[in-house]
């Protein structure tokens, strides 16, 4: 704790990427306001991309190997890796941040066509995205409850506004309001739990908490109290991940939000939420592993079941994808439910592939217009395989991958999640999981069925923006490539997972 006293500007540079993004945000707000209406969109977009790219480079600069390569003369100390007990930049955070930034950049590619056609193209959109990226980055780097809370709120508030971005559409405003109210409730629960934890231990940092719990501090007098506080915190985070039974907001918000926002929302906040969820469980609350293991198992089973069964009866594609995301969170939680830090890389690889598939699916949805209206319902896809065979094939591949059918990447990551489950003694949970994956295969097949088996008379609007097509096909190629040769994903996530293991081992 010596270092805290010497706190100075030098230590701020550990968060150099975050600070950079913040500066870019503020600068863009001003620049957008003062630039001419006709150029502001393009101008802000380019700078946003540039800002994200800069942040990406800075984040990559935190990888030890890169640092040794890049700073051979001045030494790797020029940028600190962590502000002790407040903010860390280990491999896990680097991985998550790269994932967040790249997804955000790809999501920005998907926006233009939709917003232009809906006549809601505004430069504030980019800045809000940038702010939520900033929140997500702070969240995954947080090593302290307050830091985590600040990140979470920054991200959530940007998302509330983004959800209601089409403010003239009742659905969008309603979704925004709903998301805001329920989200605030969840944040409140999280904060409530944090305050208990602080009251019990007098610590806010993850390190401090871990040590306090390990030495029995805060547990002795009222053992239930600490568990209760932890449950409150888990509830708040489960809400952000949209794990059942805290998923109620998801379908409405997914449906109401503008589609590009839905795409963004189903990837970036999930990365951040899972990242912090894993860190909180395995670092400060490792002591309570026996207790939270049961909670995670219940979350996992409920999410898989609710997501899979409810997705079957949906007619709206965005609602269906919302339930699908709930189901997939359930699958991602299986490795976490083993309560072993060595298993977490399977959650991360699943998350990565889930992000790829989701991005591909949304890129396709955004490129399909029926009678000049964006496709919203499953029935709108009728006969797609005839009118645009290539797009139908791409969507079918993504759907089969989502269902976990080999030889696509979705299968490989599911297999790995199931494997660690069996390996670490949760065979019964895995069995429930595989059976529910059959249920979830049904809604994926239903989309293929509509595209291939049903006849449609409608013709889809022909001109598809090239960037949408590019993103969609890139994701399809990745899904096939990682399905046949998944090694690289598993290797990366395994390296990343070590930093979590080290942290657990070091303090535990």
């Amino acid at each position: 704790m010596e270092m805290m006293n010497e706190f100075n500007w030098y230590w701020y540079s550990a968060g150099i990427a975050e600070i950079f993004v913040m500066v870019v945000c503020l600068a863009l707000l001003v620049a957008g306001a003062f630039s001419h209406k006709s150029v502001e969109g393009k101008f802000v977009r380019n700078l946003t991309m540039l800002g994200l790219f800069g942040a990406l480079v800075m984040v990559i600069g935190h990888i030890p190997e890169v640092r040794e390569f890049a700073f051979p003369v001045v030494g790797t100390d020029i940028i600190p890796q962590a502000v002790s007990s407040l903010f860390v930049n280990d491999k896990l955070t680097v991985f998550l941040k790269v994932f967040i930034i790249v997804s955000a950049m790809l999501c920005l590619f998907l926006v233009d066509d939709y917003m232009t056609r809906k006549k809601t193209r505004k430069y504030e959109y980019d800045i809000l995205i940038l702010l939520s990226v900033l929140g997500a980055m702070i969240m995954v780097s947080a090593a302290d409850m307050l830091m985590m809370y600040i990140g979470l709120e920054l991200m959530s508030f940007s998302l509330y506004i983004l959800t209601a971005f089409h403010r003239k559409e009742a659905k969008s405003s309603e979704a925004g309001l709903k998301y805001f109210i329920l989200g605030s409730l969840a944040s409140g629960l999280l904060l409530f739990g944090m305050s208990y934890v602080y009251g019990l231990t007098g610590e806010t940092s993850f390190d401090g908490l871990q040590q306090a719990f390990a030495s029995g501090k805060g547990i002795g007098d009222a053992p239930m109290m600490a568990t209760f506080a932890m449950v409150l915190m888990l509830t708040g985070m489960a809400f952000k991940m949209s794990a059942a039974p805290f998923h109620m907001w998801t379908p409405d918000v997914y449906e109401g939000a503008p589609t590009p926002v839905t795409a963004y929302m189903s990837i970036v906040p999930k990365i951040a939420a899972i990242g912090i969820f894993v860190r909180v469980l395995f670092e400060p609350f490792m002591y309570f592993a026996d207790q939270w293991q049961q909670i995670v198992i219940v979350l996992s089973i409920l999410s898989m079941a609710v997501g899979s069964f409810m997705a079957i009866v949906q007619n709206n594609l965005k609602r269906l994808l919302a339930y699908s995301s709930i189901a997939n969170i359930g699958f991602m939680l299986i490795p976490v439910a083993t309560a072993s830090a060595t298993a977490v890389d399977k959650t991360l690889s699943y998350l990565l592939v889930y992000g790829i598939m989701t991005l591909g699916i949304f890129a396709i949805l955004l490129s399909l217009r029926l009678r000049e209206k964006f496709v919203e319902n499953i029935d709108d896809l009728k006969g797609l395989s005839k009118s645009s065979p290539a797009i139908a094939a791409a969507l079918a591949i993504l759907m089969f991958s989502l269902a976990g059918v080999p030889p696509f990447a979705g299968f490989m990551v599911k297999l790995e999640a199931f494997r660690v489950g069996v390996e670490l003694g949760l065979t019964w949970l895995v069995t429930i999981g595989v059976v529910l994956s059959v249920v979830s295969a049904y809604y994926c097949l239903r989309i293929v069925k509509v595209m291939y088996f049903d006849d449609g008379k409608d013709v889809y609007s022909p001109e598809v923006p090239s960037e949408l097509r590019l993103v969609a096909w890139a994701m399809v190629v990745l899904v096939i490539g990682f399905g046949i040769l998944p090694d690289s994903i598993f290797e990366v996530t395994e390296t990343v997972q070590h930093s979590l293991m080290d942290a657990t081992a070091f303090n535990g």
Binding site: K386, V405, E416, R419, V434, V438, K449, Y452, F453
Partner: protein
């Protein structure tokens, strides 16, 4: 030569897949694309057939081990390998697949008119995945092929099927998928028990606790029993068969059903011998029920395709009976029966397809007296009907006879063998009555008298099957020799394991008595 030998299976597996990719790339308008797709698909599948025959000729039948083996790294973080190889049991299925695919393409030549390139791509990729299933010696690889095969079959039934195709396609997919994912759990468990290796051969004879074996057996059983299909897991089959286009039925009956029985031979018996032994009486019972019950059900059908579909379940009942009786003769007979059923039921489905293309109905009451107009058709139908009922001199006789004699010697099997014999009689009942009602007598409608004769293409596609029915009927050793060494080894290993178990049990009982 050496490189060709080691890469033979890879070529056989992926050549059709390359063909499937070509289908996507064919340029031109719809008509030229369709005709080029057909020709190209026929070319690719014929080359695959020729290569598979070349492999068969280079196969050393006296060697019971894997041949044409190739073992390369695939997913290092999972320790999964690209391990391919064939032995006497699997090679015949590879050849059968390679034979039936070009026939299927000929069958569909005129009857499929919409989205031909996609159809051909589906068939070629199906061929690739099925060959992969029979060659894979790594469990993960096996599973990937096993599941991937569902995608083209799902499309074949769903896009080109009959009125109720959507229901049938979804039922087919979900039913098989449910069975398969349970197998996946067992597979992962085996992987961990086997020291993080998916290698199938290294699992043969590995030590597993009897209780564990029972659970694993049940999980694998879920996948295989659905695929075979065994009664009462067969309900997807009539729907899938009836709704699928003719070629889809051919491939389904001819090959896909064999994958389940092959699974019993490759996984259940060698890896879980004790559980296999424990479950044998139940499988006998299910097989006997399948043989008799589905034969009766077949007799009650009015849709001619359903009759053949149910007869498949009945015939596969013999196969499972023979496999679990676990004598050299019965297992040999089962493999033989699978090949025979692949030939005969495929031919029967094709015959139904020929008449369906002309009359667009499968209702048996609309037929009658076809012999007056299409004598060649009637002759072919006669031949395959005789083969289906197991007349001596046709191939099926050999298989069924071996199964029945081989099983009779096995423990507790006598009663079921007697029931199975009853099933043969019932088989003759529904097949002959089908023949009589469809082919014999006076034409029931004017439509029958206006039927077109069989085209050259149609006659030609039956010829290999006719030849095989007679050849394997008269010289069954051609097939039996290939399978003998591998089957003998399989059965011997199985009995060693079972004997161990019984000895252990005796010892335990002895100790407990003391």
């Amino acid at each position: 030569m050496e490189t060709i030998n080691t890469n033979m299976l890879t070529i056989l597996t992926f050549l059709p897949l390359v063909g499937a990719l070509f289908m996507v790339l064919i340029p031109g308008n719809e008509e030229t694309r369709a005709s080029n797709a057909k020709k190209l698909a026929l070319l690719f599948s014929t080359v695959t057939l020729i290569l598979s025959l070349a492999m068969l000729s280079g196969f050393d039948a006296s060697n019971p081990n894997m041949q044409f083996e190739l073992n390369k790294g695939w997913i290092s973080s999972l320790n999964a390998n690209y391990h391919m190889g064939v032995d006497g049991i699997s090679i015949l299925f590879v050849v059968l697949t390679a034979l039936l695919t070009p026939i299927c393409i000929l069958v569909s030549w005129n009857s499929i008119t919409k989205r031909v390139p996609l159809y051909m791509a589906a068939f070629l990729s199906l061929e690739a995945f099925v060959i992969g299933v029979f060659c894979a010696l790594d469990m993960l690889l096996f599973y990937v092929f096993w599941e991937a095969m569902l995608i083209p079959m799902f499309l074949i039934i769903g896009v080109w099927g009959g009125e109720n195709r959507v229901y049938a396609a979804l039922k087919f997919f979900l039913y098989t998928f449910l069975g398969s994912v349970l197998m996946l759990v067992a597979l992962v468990y085996l992987y961990l028990e086997n020291g993080n290796s998916f290698d199938i051969l290294s699992m043969h004879g590995m030590y597993l606790d009897t209780n564990v074996q029972i659970w694993l057996f049940l999980a694998f059983f879920a996948a295989f029993a659905v695929k075979v299909p065994m009664w009462p897991f067969h309900t997807w089959l009539p729907d899938a068969h009836v709704q699928a286009p003719t070629a889809g039925s051919v491939i389904l009956a001819g090959i896909l059903l064999k994958m389940g029985a092959y699974g019993f031979l490759r996984f259940s018996m060698p890896i879980m011998p004790e559980a296999t032994y424990i479950f044998t009486p139940y499988i006998y019972a299910l097989s006997a029920i399948a043989i008799v019950y589905t034969a009766l059900v077949a007799f009650a059908q009015t849709d001619i395709k359903k009759i053949i579909a149910y007869s498949s379940v009945s015939h596969m009942g013999f196969v499972t009976l023979g496999i679990f009786a676990a004598t050299v003769e019965s297992v040999q007979g089962s493999v033989m029966q699978m090949i025979n059923h692949g030939i005969v039921s495929s031919a029967l489905f094709m015959l139904i397809g020929v008449i369906y293309d002309r009359m667009h109905t499968r209702d048996i009451s609309r037929f009658g007296g076809i012999v007056n107009r299409m004598p060649l058709y009637a002759t072919l139908f006669m031949l395959f009907t005789m083969a289906a009922v197991g007349l001596p001199g046709t191939n099926s006789f050999v298989g069924e006879f071996l199964i029945l004699t081989g099983s009779y010697g096995a423990e507790h099997a006598q009663l079921y063998v007697v029931i199975a014999c009853l099933g043969i009689v019932l088989g003759a009942v529904y097949m002959l009555s089908l023949y009589k009602r469809m082919i014999m007598g006076e034409p029931v409608t004017q439509e029958i008298m206006r039927l077109k004769h069989m085209e050259k293409r149609e006659v030609f596609m039956f010829m290999p099957l006719v030849a095989l029915v007679i050849y394997l009927g008269l010289a069954p050793n051609a097939a039996l020799n290939v399978t003998e060494a591998a089957v003998t080894k399989l059965v011997a290993d199985y009995h060693i394991e079972v004997a161990h178990m019984e000895k252990d049990d005796l010892q335990i009982a002895y100790v407990e008595d003391k």
